[in-house]
Assembly symmetry: C2
Homo-oligomer: 196 residues x 2
């Protein structure tokens, strides 16, 4: 087998572990926690479907999808850090960067470099593609929380202010999505899914 | 909320069920069966990484990824049919077509039509994109079977001839991938993972 293919297969085997990294979020039926591979599938699909709400500026949707397919692979080594866990965020970037070096490094060097670049672009949230990708990554668990009557929010005693803070960047760039999500948060407080 | 967004959210909620549709294939660690959402994530990522083995003709990788992200959504209604289950394949297409009409029909009509077209293209396996997508969909479970020492193959008493038959179309179009996979099948027989 040629060396490139052998490296690609090693990577494909390694990332199977993403299916065993569980998040705090529950599936819509609330039966169990969601894993990172399922989550990544769901938001890649959302990125395709919700693009029109991004405004007139055309996005490179393939680039967005690539970011979303790989954005959580670092958690194979670094673990999932709950969005509202302050302590876990200390050293998070360094732990994740080391994971990226190891795991993406299994690939041929050109592909490893491409993946590292996309992962850093996603983390830095500066390009239009990275910001749109981040929007998907934040809206999806919010939907899961809302439609499971705040199951993970209640377990972690999350307040509406912290959820609003995480989606604030949508307000200017994706006003319609922001209004929809802010409406869910408002209702979640009324229903007791989320602390005021 | 505008009608388009409301339909898109209804679809995004509905397809969460793909995470509860289990396949015959086991995860690489053999601990449990894989679900369709995880599988779809894995093969979309593989399509990005293995494109160079497709030969010099350029593919529309975004189109391939879209096909792979949605190709199993019909199983929410129609269930998973094991690749080597002859009886289950009777009426399979009609059951899946009805599922596509219902589930894709949750979306705004232009997106529903796009998704139906992509699903049919995948099913018909005629375009270069559909054939490459099908290759990913066949190679991935084969890797899982091989690296779990044929766990699902042994449970279903699958023979090497039937596995070779399913990947035969790769031989001309993706000779290097075909040779690699044929090598795994050969070794699987030697190791007793697969019946001769």
């Amino acid at each position: 087998m040629n060396d490139r293919l052998s490296r690609q297969i090693a990577f494909i085997r390694e990332v199977d572990k993403l299916k065993t990294i569980f998040r705090q979020t529950y599936l819509m039926d609330a039966a169990r926690h969601e894993n990172d591979a399922e989550h990544s599938w769901h938001i890649a699909l959302m990125a395709w479907l919700l693009e029109e709400h991004r405004g007139p500026e055309k996005l490179d949707v393939l680039r967005v999808m690539k970011m979303l397919l790989i954005h959580d692979i670092v958690e194979i080594d670094a673990g999932d850090t709950f969005a509202y866990d302050v302590q876990g965020h200390e050293n998070q970037f360094e732990r994740e960067r080391q994971a990226a070096v190891r795991i993406f490094g299994l690939l041929p060097s050109d592909q490893s470099a491409e993946m590292m670049e996309l992962w850093l672009e996603f983390e830095q949230r500066e390009t239009a593609e990275a910001r749109y990708a981040a929007a998907m990554d934040r809206i999806q668990p919010l939907l899961h929380n809302y439609y499971t009557e705040g199951k993970a929010w209640r377990e972690h005693r999350v307040t509406s202010g912290r959820v609003l803070e995480r989606i604030r960047f949508l307000e200017r760039e994706m006003p319609e999505l922001h209004a929809f999500v802010a409406g869910l948060i408002d209702d979640a407080v009324k229903q007791g899914y989320l602390l005021p």
